[in-house]
Symmetry: C2
Subunit: 317 residues, 2 copies
């Protein structure tokens, strides 16, 4: 039986799995993503995480049929390179991730886009498996997206799925991408944090940053936002409301254009807010739907934290 490896490379952590032919996890591991250094340091941690998962499965990395990596940034699948991974240390130029990690592990490595890998896992194994068409909405640091059409991930000319940069308000809020009015400018955790910090600096009352310190974080993680909401923090509530308001328009627009069967919500904030969060997004989308009496199903990912790594393992299936 051929075992495969999967690595989900996030800005905070690296998830590794070893799976069998049925995509069942037979070994897994987690490591922190290096916060300093450069691509070679990240490669070392990726290799270490995969070795841990392989050890848990009782195999050597070199025995695997292959290892897939779901990566942020600009991924060139053919070339096996990754460029402009803003959340990874010192990773601006294109780096030959597949080649470097393949050398470390002694097996072939394929790289793919992280959100697409996670959506592919949901399509094959998770919340998307009963639908022939759906939109994956990865609500986290940014807003990732992926479109499944006719039972297949639609890549376009290679870059389809940039839901975060759908314009929801012309000439609107500044987006981390440098443009204005993108969905991500309202609903991406990074843009939300920027706005929260500015409001806080101007004297707005909020527990967000106290909660952040208590949780020993230096960023407003999904856990920090969730804790602030539970406390009824006014600023956090307002910013999450605003994010949901924008998500309703962005997701609703995609449905008007493509009339998909379902919307699958994932990502750090998406999974943190779970079914109630998905219900809020569905309600926010409803007024924008052109065919209002037949909304798509709005569901949450089923594979949780391991979805990214499982999807990465599908890259070498």
């Amino acid at each position: 039986m051929a075992l495969r490896g999967g690595l989900d490379l996030g800005g905070t952590k690296i998830d590794a799995v070893v799976v069998n032919d049925a995509s069942e996890i037979v070994g897994s591991a987690r490591r922190e993503t290096p916060r300093t250094g450069g691509p070679p340091d990240v490669v070392k941690e990726l290799a270490a995480a995969l070795r841990d998962a392989a050890a848990a499965a009782g195999v050597e990395p070199a025995e695997l049929a292959g290892v897939g990596v779901g990566s942020p940034g600009e991924v060139d699948r053919e070339a096996g390179t990754v460029a402009r991974a803003g959340n990874l240390p010192g990773w601006a130029d294109a780096f030959p991730l597949a080649a470097a990690l393949g050398e470390e592990l002694g097996t072939r490595v394929a790289v793919g886009n992280d959100v697409r890998a996670a959506v592919e896992a949901e399509r094959v194994l998770g919340a998307g498996r009963t639908y022939r068409s759906f939109l994956g909405v990865w609500w986290g640091t940014g807003i990732g997206g992926a479109v499944v059409i006719d039972g297949r991930l639609w890549l376009g000319r290679g870059s389809a799925g940039e839901l975060g940069h759908v314009v929801v308000r012309l000439d609107g809020a500044p987006c981390p991408c440098g443009r204005k009015g993108c969905l991500e400018a309202y609903a991406g955790r990074s843009a939300m944090e920027r706005r929260a910090r500015r409001a806080f600096a101007k004297g707005a009352k909020t527990d967000l940053f106290e909660l952040m310190r208590k949780q020993k974080r230096d960023r407003l993680t999904s856990g920090v936002w969730a804790a602030a909401l539970v406390r009824g923090d006014a600023l956090a509530t307002r910013l999450i409301d605003r994010a949901v308001w924008a998500l309703g328009a962005g997701v609703g627009s995609a449905i008007n254009l493509l009339d998909l069967e379902a919307v699958v919500i994932g990502g750090g904030l998406g999974t943190r807010f779970g079914v109630p969060g998905a219900e809020r997004i569905a309600a926010s989308m409803q007024p924008h739907l052109f065919v209002a009496d037949r909304p798509p199903a709005v569901v949450v990912t089923e594979l949780d934290d391991s979805g990214g790594a499982l999807g990465a393992a599908l890259l070498v299936a």
Copy 2:
């Protein structure tokens, strides 16, 4: 050789063609769409137009392999019905168009959505034939759309392509559909006319309505808008600029989501403004593109006025 008929049912006119196996036009005719009465009156004119085109081709309607109709409103292809065709007289409830027209003509009739039929014609015979994926943007009374993916029109659950109701400005301008901030609220001719009439009533200086009377129209047709632009009319210029501004965001968002090879511009205003208009839309879209260095081709329909009827004939191919 099997001949087929095609009818494009517009709010102003009915275009009829008879085509051969190669989709070459062997007979054509045009009639005015009835402005009063109800669906049976429209059916009579559709039948008359098709008989004219058949006569020009030297055949009887009953000899045709079938007749396709591209219709506005809510089209149910399976049932052969059309409902809520707002631009047609007395056409609110579902009417069995295929059955009624089939009885008149003595041949089988298929009905389909008008914009999709026209886009299908461009895909097979026109500006879209060299692309595997493109977005059809029908800029007219409303903003129609159609998405071609992997060489086929993507219908979703039956209603894909509602580009006009993609949200470009959350809580923005009121749309004829009753929602707010839709692309059509800014760029649809009907919404533009509404805004022009309001500005004029408030004292704005404009030649739009004088030109309308001179052209013996009671609506601001594409020809009226074009004439006003040529004169440098300030209100017309401002409203067209605003439409192009909104089109850039709506079309750009669709490209960010789907990464299509091309955008094909059609519709009354789209064909009227031609290549310069397409170039303006391309320029307006550019700042919104996530992959800015690889924009889609933006081209104009090639089949002009007969595209709708040719596409309708493809419904029975």
